[in-house]
């Protein structure tokens, strides 16, 4: 968003870290949160990423104070808040439904938290104006909520969530109701806004691309447990297990065989020569479709790359990229994605074509089989 020099950036709101320990929430026999430990660093943009029912929203709602966990501790800085009612937690929140008050104008919505805090009318008006400028809605303060587009409502919800300078900002899939183009634009804007406000932000989404775009760190959550916590780069390049590899980005997983002497094979391809970890487990090779390249089998140095050969089973043109499935021995389908420049012969693949695909050894990802590790 625009770098309007409003008072938000004057440092009046210092960010707070969040410490979560042993947080557990059961619905009947099912664990929505299973003894979750999480440290959210001061000022970082942390995304909770997981499929629906994974517990990510339950975790966010517990931080906001809207549900009562069965056990655990949540601290904002040094303050324990597990028993603090939501209206005393002083965290900003953007709801999936925006939750704008329909009987108030845009400005009244944004002024609501300021009035509750007894801030004088003049300062309230000034801060509402500044917040509107920050979200690029100057001059729309008098509008009714119903007169706004989805994108504008989203911005009002955002302005209302940070106008009272909370030290923690929570967002529950705030962009899910927007169309793709606007969503991608808002992702960048939200990222800039976060940099501008410097507030500790916990963001919930089921959209892995959104998570990769915006986050300092991503928490992958599944069945109420935190599966992996890392930077977008590491989550994508070094997924901890099959669930993460599958949920984030596209991937093909091929089973590996261990020969007992530290060598891992996929069929007759030597994948790894010096594998030291637990030999009793089963391992998989994860291949990102865009890391594969068309290869001439004889020209490739087998020290540097592995070459898979097979038959094209499907080929689809998708605009900026094309996507193909290559069948290996009619048993494994290898997903393959490549750019679509006009000159490339890659554009004219057809089902039934014989192809060889290369994978650089530096792009090899090996994970244990099964979702839990």
């Amino acid at each position: 968003m625009s770098s309007h020099p409003d008072s938000e950036s004057s440092g009046a709101s210092t960010a707070l870290p969040i410490h979560i320990q042993g947080l557990t929430k059961k619905y009947g026999q099912m664990f929505a949160l299973d003894s979750v430990d999480l440290e959210v660093k001061s000022g970082e943009f942390l995304t909770l990423l997981g499929p629906s029912g994974s517990g990510k929203t339950t975790l966010l709602m517990a931080i906001a104070g809207f549900n009562r966990p069965d056990a655990g501790s949540i601290r904002f800085g040094e303050t324990e808040v597990i028993l603090t009612p939501p209206h005393q937690r002083n965290v900003g929140m953007v709801f999936q439904s925006y939750a704008l008050f329909p009987h108030m104008s845009v400005a009244e919505n944004i002024a609501f938290p300021l009035k509750l805090r007894g801030i004088a009318a003049a300062e309230t008006a000034q801060r509402v104006e500044a917040a509107l400028t920050t979200v690029q809605l100057d001059g729309l303060g008098d509008r009714d909520i119903e007169q706004l587009s989805g994108g504008q409502r989203q911005r009002v919800a955002l302005a209302r969530a940070f106008v009272f300078r909370p030290r923690i900002l929570l967002m529950d899939e705030p962009l899910s109701a927007l169309d793709k183009k606007l969503r991608e634009q808002m992702q960048i804007e939200l990222k800039h806004l976060h940099e501008q406000l410097g507030v500790t932000t916990v963001y919930v989404t089921h959209d892995q691309r959104e998570a990769l775009t915006m986050s300092d760190r991503i928490v992958v959550i599944n069945h109420g447990k935190l599966t992996q916590i890392d930077t977008p780069h590491n989550i994508y390049n070094h997924p901890a297990n099959a669930f993460v590899a599958d949920f984030i980005g596209e991937s093909t997983m091929l089973p590996l065989e261990h020969d007992g002497s530290g060598k891992l094979f996929f069929q007759d391809h030597l994948v790894e020569t010096d594998f030291k970890t637990d030999a009793a487990r089963n391992w998989s090779l994860v291949i990102r479709p865009e890391r594969l390249f068309m290869a001439d089998k004889k020209a490739v140095d087998s020290e540097k790359a592995i070459v898979f050969s097979g038959v094209v089973r499907d080929f689809v043109f998708q605009g900026e990229t094309a996507f193909a499935l290559m069948s290996i021995n009619d048993k494994y389908d290898l997903a393959f994605r490549f750019g679509t420049d006009s000159s490339s012969s890659q554009n004219i693949l057809q089902a039934g074509d014989q192809v060889s695909l290369g994978l650089n050894r530096s792009d090899v990802i090996i994970i244990p089989q099964g979702d839990d590790s």
Partner: protein, 300 residues
């Protein structure tokens, strides 16, 4: 742009499509005919007849005597005052009982709310007369309520709970309650729970959330329900007649009395006309006020 330039010449099947459109409109209109005829037969003609009768004097000629009488005799004014007093009080009692009830129902999970709603609606489906006489049994001097109250020592001598304003209000409030609760419940159900979460998140205590968010958003249902109750009360006959025991004379009771005692259709019609016009004026004023509400509280 390109479509408007092509309008000179007739497009393919343009005429046929236009004819089909007109035919569909006529079909829809013909579907509404029975209802229109029914309204004319049941409402327009009788009300017109009512107006005509009210302007007919005892000699059979056009006259204003029925209206003059209403101004001259104080008893008529008293009847109207009683009618409005009872209607306003009944509406207020319904709001006081109905708002918490509707709120309770709206807070329940849908299925449980359906069950309790049935409890609200069940009396609604039994005969008005039965319910009114049931109240008579409960409230009379040696009735269940008095017996119980005296046995637990709430009061020593029987309290007069019926054949007066108290009895009338108890009976009417009971009968009118669903008319308030239903629209109120409807508007409360429409209030997203996220809004209350948002209010709390922004720093509003539960009491503040209620008065600043929930209450204004439930206003539309409350105004609609109150209007229905009030207007129904204005013309209510059975319950005030039975539970008022002749001491609470409302317009409808008075109309019956005039017809039974004097067989004066003109006088009775004039009362009906005044009540009808008063009701319409109130409805009109209320919708104007609702617009004011819309300006104050938003369009909900």
């Amino acid at each position: 742009m390109s479509a408007s330039t092509a309008s000179k010449t007739e497009g393919i099947n343009e005429k046929l499509l236009r004819i089909q459109g007109i035919r569909e409109q006529r079909l829809l209109l013909s579907l509404a005919t029975p209802a229109v005829l029914a309204i004319v037969a049941i409402i327009v003609i009788p009300v017109g007849w009512l107006f005509y009768l009210s302007f007919t004097g005892s000699n059979g000629h056009l006259s204003l005597e029925n209206y003059q009488r209403m101004i001259e005799y104080k008893s008529y004014a008293r009847v109207f005052v009683t009618t409005f007093q009872v209607s306003i009080l009944t509406t207020l009692i319904c709001i006081l009982i109905g708002y918490p009830l509707a709120y309770f129902l709206a807070m329940l999970p849908q299925r449980l709310a359906g069950f309790f709603m049935l409890a609200v609606l069940l009396p609604f489906w039994t005969s008005l007369l039965v319910r009114t006489y049931a109240w008579l049994v409960l409230l009379q001097k040696n009735g269940i309520l008095n017996d119980f109250a005296m046995s637990v020592g709430l009061w020593d001598t029987p309290v007069k709970l019926v054949h007066n304003l108290t009895g009338t209000l108890i009976g009417m409030a009971h009968i009118m309650l669903p008319f308030l609760v239903l629209p109120l419940y409807g508007s409360m159900r429409k209030i997203q729970r996220d809004l209350m979460h948002a209010a709390a998140n922004l720093g509003a205590s539960p009491v503040q959330s209620f008065w600043k968010i929930y209450f204004p958003l439930s206003m539309s249902g409350m105004v609609a329900g109150s209007l229905i109750v009030f207007v129904l009360c204005l013309g209510f006959y059975v319950t005030p007649a039975v539970l008022g025991g002749g001491r609470v004379v409302m317009v409808a009771t008075q109309i019956t009395a005039i017809l039974e005692n004097q067989y004066n259709w003109g006088a009775a019609s004039a009362l009906g006309v005044v009540l009808l016009i008063a009701t319409l004026v109130i409805l009109y004023a209320a919708t104007k006020l609702m617009k004011l509400d819309a300006a104050l509280f938003g369009k909900h």
